[in-house]
């Protein structure tokens, strides 16, 4: 039965480029990029209960990998994607190890530190990383190319996530999330699975970062990977709720299209009005639909005192 909605989505995505303009294909590609990034964050947060406000950092690593391999080594742009996947995966593992010792707000702060610090490095090492004027990839691609590649990557990412999470690894992830104690006693190695989740999640973000650079006319610059990007992905994941396909698509559409749609809102057609709308929607969604995202949120109430305060069914 599950195949039916997936089939519909695939059919729509295949048909879409024939029906919409190049510009709208471009917008749809942004949705694909956020889809991959939010899916990655969902694996980490939704399935192993580790929070990250630093996924923009992994996107930066992926994006710069792509642009450097293209500009300096003249790699084919498509070939850079697996490379950025691999490098981001390794970086994710490296971050995942210290993250083992942190949880809750501490992990939030540590990953936030990452999001703020990583965009500074292209400025520090401007000789290799282009500094504030950024780097151009060797070529730029058309809207259609980007659409096809973006959504193909999304499909692959979704399939990979699905395969990963339905099997042994997914069971281990969920065990870690639901009760570390129980997971350990049933033979799940906490360090391995928690670190692995970080790696996989970062790999997804890395590919999303590569694609973000490609849609930005192959131009990588620190300003593209600011703190706001990390916050947007987190908000997208929150809007998405539990890791369902539909949820992640909704989150991706929200993050990817709202900034393009909001300016047309009457009354608040201005830029700051857009901020007001965006902020208000985020707050309202969290307030009005807490149950809709219960599955997602339930991973984050580990604290003793809140267990006392919150309603009995969650404890």
């Amino acid at each position: 039965m599950k195949l039916v909605p997936i089939g519909v989505v695939v059919a729509v995505l295949v048909a879409l480029p024939f029906l919409i303009s190049g510009y709208h294909q471009g917008l749809a590609t942004y949705v694909a990029i956020y889809f991959i990034a939010i899916l990655g964050l969902n694996i980490l947060t939704g399935y192993t209960g580790q929070i990250s406000i630093g996924h923009g950092a992994f996107m930066a690593i992926g994006g710069y990998t792509t642009v450097l391999l293209s500009a300096d080594q003249h790699w084919n742009l498509l070939a850079t994607l697996p490379a950025s996947l691999g490098i981001s995966f390794v970086c994710g593992l490296i971050v995942g190890v210290p993250a083992l010792r942190l949880s809750g707000v501490y992990l939030a702060l540590a990953t936030f530190a990452l999001a703020v610090s990583v965009p500074q490095f292209p400025l520090k090492f401007s000789k290799f990383l282009g500094g504030s004027n950024g780097i151009h990839a060797a070529q730029t691609k058309s809207h259609l190319w980007l659409y096809v590649v973006g959504w193909s990557c999304s499909a692959l990412a979704f399939a990979a996530a699905w395969l990963l999470l339905r099997g042994r690894i997914g069971r281990a992830f969920r065990a870690v999330r639901d009760s570390e104690l129980a997971a350990v006693s049933s033979g799940v190695s906490l360090p391995i699975y928690k670190t692995l989740a970080f790696g996989v999640s970062a790999a997804f973000a890395g590919v999303a970062g590569s694609l973000l650079v490609l849609v930005t006319n192959g131009y990588a610059q620190p300003g593209e990977f600011g703190v706001l990007l990390s916050l947007e992905i987190l908000i997208g994941a929150a809007v998405a709720g539990l890791g369902s396909l539909w949820g992640v698509i909704v989150g991706a559409v929200f993050i990817g299209l709202l900034p393009s749609v909001a300016p047309d809102v009457p009354l608040i057609g201005s830029a700051h009005g857009q901020d007001v709308v965006f902020g208000l929607i985020v707050v309202l969604i969290m307030l009005l639909l807490p149950n809709g995202f219960a599955g997602f949120l339930r991973r984050f109430e580990p604290r003793v005192k809140t267990t006392i305060k919150s309603d009995p069914k969650t404890s």
Binding site: V8, A15, I20, G22, L123, T140, S260, P263
Partner: protein, 410 residues
């Protein structure tokens, strides 16, 4: 079966929507993009929000000027429709917004988009699609020097290294034994300036006793100013963005450093900022900089340009302050755009616009009196004259120009 039906339903719905869209598209005017019988549509991206948003008075002033033009008959009978979009100085936003302007709104040209990195992100895209990217609001040298590879792009203001070169020449000529301390932003903007200063100083570049950089994200420049003071420098050169420039001027006073001369770059030489620095205790009297704009509220206030500026701003954008040199900048850029659109003729084409912009030879009312906008097929720097200015009068003070007009600044 159920699935197929649903797919069919979705496809049918989508096809209907697409059909309407396609019909609408073919029904539209198919001549030069952005030019209809009654309007010329142009657009640009600007940081209306975020850290660089203090520049948002530029598009506001530009819109005011175009409103004035439209009320006075427009350009060859067509009204200018200027679309301003907010990219927050983030290139990954500049790109889709510019694509929206070019592909959805079908603008005739991208006018005045602000910032070096944002303009770099759309540089090749616009040139590949042969869309004019004109009078960009950044003083990097790319725009003037790369006209062979990027013929659809042209800058506007004097470029940063050229401006800094003049400071070097000035110090070389007037203070040959100065000990120079430089504060610059640690990015291409600051480094361009710093490099230009060294070129201008020539053999005297050894007079630079200390050069300190700061990061745009930092909260103060105190540490750097202290290091400059400790280096024994007696000339303070600041190549910074406005907030840090104010901070540097205030800090120098607060740490008891009184250099013989202080030079700030023209981006930060906005009277509004000098007044803030003075009100916060900074010693700003005697600060030097350069200028290419009409000093509308002070020494040039009786010129025709200043009167026009005052009339336009009071009627179309009374919230703007003519002491803010970004407002005058916006008027000047919009004037130049209007002039070029007129020169492009009754049936303007994109190539015609570029040709007009590459053959300027005209004095514009919002430039400093005596200056001219001059370009040619090989000279793509429209405004490349500067005059020195000196601040006097503290918080209620003003710039006073002095000395000759420097030509061919680059």
């Amino acid at each position: 079966m159920g699935m197929n039906r649903r797919v069919l339903a979705v496809l049918a719905g989508a096809a209907i929507v697409a059909g309407i869209a396609v019909t609408a598209a073919f029904g539209a005017h198919r001549a030069t993009p952005g030019v209809s019988a009654s309007t010329i549509t142009i657009g640009g991206t600007f940081p209306l929000t975020g850290p660089a948003s203090l520049y948002k008075t530029i598009p506001a002033a530009e819109s005011a000027y175009f409103a004035y033009v439209n009320d006075h008959g427009g350009v060859n009978g067509r009204k200018i429709d200027f679309k301003v979009l907010d990219d927050g100085y983030d290139p990954s936003k500049t790109v889709p917004l510019t694509q929206q302007l070019v592909e959805q709104d079908k603008v005739f040209a991208i006018f005045g988009s602000l910032g070096t990195a944002p303009n770099l992100s759309i540089w090749s895209y616009l040139n590949t699609h042969k869309v004019p990217q004109v009078l960009v609001a950044t003083g990097d040298s790319y725009w003037g020097f790369s006209h062979k590879a990027y013929p659809w792009t042209i800058g506007y203001q004097p470029d940063y290294p050229g401006e800094a070169k003049i400071y070097g020449q000035y110090l070389d000529a007037n203070m040959p034994t100065a000990k120079i301390g430089v504060l610059y932003q640690n990015d291409a903007y600051g480094k361009n300036y710093y490099a230009g200063l060294r070129v201008g100083l020539g053999a005297k570049k050894s007079n630079i006793v200390s050069a300190q950089s700061y990061d745009a994200s930092s909260t103060s420049v105190v540490q750097q100013v202290l290091a400059l003071k400790a280096s024994g420098a007696n000339v303070f050169v600041v190549f910074a963005l406005p907030t840090q420039t104010i901070g540097a001027l205030v800090t120098a006073t607060k740490v008891g450093w009184t250099p013989n001369a202080t030079i700030i770059n023209n981006v930060s030489a906005n009277p509004v900022f000098l007044k803030i620095a003075a009100a916060n205790g900074g010693n700003v009297d005697g600060v030097l900089s350069t200028n290419y704009l009409n000093l509308v509220t002070t020494t040039d206030k009786n010129t025709a340009g200043a009167k026009l500026a005052t009339a336009i701003i009071s009627k179309y954008a009374s919230a703007l302050d003519l002491n803010d040199s970004n407002v005058v900048y916006g008027l000047g850029a919009a004037w130049t755009m209007t002039y070029a659109l007129k020169k492009a003729g009754k049936n303007p084409t994109r190539a015609g616009l570029m040709k007009a912009l590459k053959s300027l030879n005209v004095a514009d009312p919002f430039s400093y009196p005596g200056m001219k906008l001059q370009t040619s097929a090989t000279d793509n720097f429209p405004s490349e004259q500067l005059v020195f200015i000196k601040w006097g009068g503290g918080a209620a003070g003003q710039w006073a120009p002095f000395g000759k007009i420097y030509n061919h600044v680059r």
